[in-house]
């Protein structure tokens, strides 16, 4: 195995089984002796803790720098409003107004201000929690405050906080836009979880385009696989994408999931399936 590996689990469509697969893989990796970190980067709706049941032992707030205007120094020149691309600071009728939730923290306004009327202070918008799930398995997730717009800096904070283990498993949010890019940028391998439905395969195609654009090696897991539904299989064959495993459509898995139990721990046959899968991924990612 390469010195350190980071593997992300992603999907275009939601609800295809990212959390089931990534949490199971994290357990399988830890059980086979790898020092492992599970990072839940779906900060809008983090669920990994429901399955891994970690003991949280550390939490810290995450903030981004937003402007504070000293009205005594401000000459209402309007330069801050001109440089801001995000409508987070505007100058109207000789008044400077700030909208913190729109701010991306670029620092442009404070740099451009000719009278040094703008300073920055950190505004919290979410929290990162870390903990342990027993042997070899560290846990980390981010929780975006409700009503907050901008999640990528929190996702980056989760990845920074939990880095350092031999093997890191990143659980990404659904979709293909900036939060997913923040979760998978720079990882060694992306596992795309799909289901063999038309919606699943349509979104798999978009997700494949995304990982190709980012230049990351990838493979596919077909979840809830039904032999006669061949759409996902056909797509992977036609596009020369490796299918690492097909997980059958199994009511026992759905029932376990509904109660917050991983098939890896509670359903016969899945421990072996995920141990084999983690070995395959390590081999693929190490190439």
């Amino acid at each position: 195995m390469k010195q350190k590996l980071t593997i992300a689990v992603a999907s275009g469509k939601g609800g295809t089984g990212k959390t089931t697969v990534s949490a199971s893989l994290a357990c399988a990796a830890a059980d086979t002796g790898h020092k492992t970190a599970y990072m839940d980067c779906d900060v809008e709706e983090p669920n990994g803790h429901l399955f891994l049941k970690p003991t949280i032992n550390y939490r810290h707030m995450v903030g981004i720098p937003v402007p504070v205007v000293d009205q005594d120094k401000c000459t209402a020149c309007g330069l801050c409003g001109e440089i801001c691309q995000f409508s987070a600071i505007v100058c109207v009728n000789k008044n400077v107004l700030t909208f913190d939730k729109m701010c991306h923290g670029c620092g442009g306004c404070s740099l451009v201000c000719p009278t040094e009327a703008i300073t920055e202070h950190s505004r919290n918008f979410g929290v990162v929690e870390t903990g342990d799930c027993g042997n070899n398995l560290k846990f980390c997730h981010g929780k975006l405050d409700v009503g907050e717009i901008h999640s990528p800096p929190l996702i980056e904070a989760v990845r920074e906080t939990a880095q350092g283990e031999d093997l890191s498993i990143v659980d990404a949010s659904p979709g293909t836009s900036c939060p997913v890019v923040a979760a998978i940028k720079g990882v060694d391998y992306v596992l795309l979880v799909t289901e063999p439905t038309p919606f699943g395969v349509n979104d798999l195609e978009i997700a494949v385009d995304m990982v190709k654009e980012l230049g990351i090696p990838h493979g596919v897991v077909i979840n809830r696989s039904v032999p006669e539904h061949t759409l996902a299989r056909d797509f992977c064959r036609d596009n020369n994408i490796k299918i690492l495993v097909e997980i059958p459509d199994d009511r026992r898995v759905a029932e376990a999931y509904s109660k917050g139990e991983l098939p890896y721990k509670g359903v016969e046959g899945y421990r072996e399936l995920f141990k084999e899968l983690i070995d395959t991924i390590i081999e693929e990612a190490g190439r």
């Binding site: 275009g12 469509k13 939601g14 609800g15 295809t16 959390t19 779906d42 809008e44 709706e45 669920n47 429901l50 440089i83 691309q85 995000f86 991306h104 923290g105 670029c106 620092g107 442009g108 740099l111 451009v112 975006l144 409700v146 009503g147 907050e148 717009i149 901008h150 999640s151 949010s173 659904p174 979709g175 293909t176 836009s177 900036c178 939060p179 997913v180 890019v181 940028k185 439905t197 038309p198 919606f199 349509n202 979104d203 978009i206 385009d209 995304m210 654009e213 980012l214 539904h229 759905a254 029932e255 999931y257 509904s258 109660k259 917050g260």
Partner: protein, 300 residues
């Protein structure tokens, strides 16, 4: 005209399948697909595209090599790690378009005026006809930002069309999560319909999505999909919603016909007469009754 936005918090609970059936059941609807980075509704509603437009949600910086003297000011100022240093190359810096946040700080402060900062094309949006009525939908470019702006634009266009054509409803298919594109899907909408499933994850995500609609003070309803896979959890979730002041407008049973309908590219209510189709019709009827009584109440 009434705008109803369907969201879920958790992904894969059945938003798009539900919206396809609502589009079929609603009299005179316009439809908006606001899941712009993984849009699926077109697979069922089969829109005929009438208009196609580029979407530009922001700008991107790009170094003009001929003007760059490799001073490194941009590298020093960029907070998003988007300026990449290339040792022993000329110019010594380039900008990674995927990491570029579009803030323009590098371009503004470049002493050589060597950084272009121009509108980027982040995706496309379309106005289409379907057999149910007009549809506005979009495709965000791969790995793009500004999905919230594109969502706002899609809803805005759907509203204009619905007003011009005097339509009764706008049915909005929202994205999963509670962040930027979801907030853009629900702000200013008339009603939110939350669709969830009876799982521990569904419950956990529902709590956050209910908090969101309360935060924005939007009247919301709940429907439970696949309710029979865990009846105990279904009861628990319904209680949770009621306690949050959210009315439950129906339960939909688990049926593999949902996938079959998707494969046949039909809304479920047109694909089958099975009990699951009746469940969906009940959701629509109850939802409209509840909305009508709220509207009457507010007019009195």
């Amino acid at each position: 005209m009434i705008e109803i936005t369907v969201i879920s918090g958790k992904g894969g609970t059945g938003k798009t399948s539900l919206v396809a059936s609502l589009a079929s059941l609603a009299p005179k609807p316009a439809v908006a697909d606001c899941d712009v980075d993984a849009a699926d509704l077109h697979l069922v509603l089969d829109p005929q595209i009438k208009e196609s437009h580029d979407f530009s949600g922001g700008k991107l910086a790009e170094i003009i090599p001929a003007r760059c003297n490799s001073c490194g000011k941009c590298y020093e100022l960029c907070r998003f790690g988007a300026v990449i240093k290339n040792e022993n190359e000329k110019p010594a810096y380039t900008i990674d378009p995927i990491s570029c946040e579009g803030c323009g700080v590098c371009s503004y402060f470049c002493p050589e005026k060597a950084i272009a900062f121009e509108p980027a094309i982040n995706g496309q949006w379309y106005i289409s006809d379907t057999r149910y009525g007009p549809m506005v939908h979009a495709k965000l470019g791969i790995a793009e930002e500004n999905s919230g702006k594109l969502v706002a634009l899609v809803r805005d266009q759907a509203k204009k069309i619905a007003e011009n054509k005097n339509l009764s409803y706008i049915i909005v298919d929202g994205p999963p999560g509670i962040g930027c594109p979801v907030i853009a899907s629900v702000t200013g909408t008339d009603y939110v319909l939350i669709v969830t499933e009876p799982t521990l994850s569904g419950e956990h995500d529902l709590e956050r999505v209910m908090e969101l609609v309360n935060y924005f003070k939007i009247p919301a309803f709940l429907c439970l999909n696949k309710h029979d896979i865990n009846p105990t959890m279904s009861d628990k979730i319904e209680n949770l919603a009621r306690n949050a002041g959210i009315k439950v407008v129906g339960r939909i049973r688990y049926d593999r016909a949902v996938t079959e309908a998707q494969i046949k590219k039909l809304p479920l209510v047109e694909f089958t007469d099975a009990p699951v189709a009746t469940d969906l019709k009940n959701v629509w009827n109850t939802l409209i009754q509840e909305i009508n009584s709220l509207q009457k109440g507010s007019h009195n």
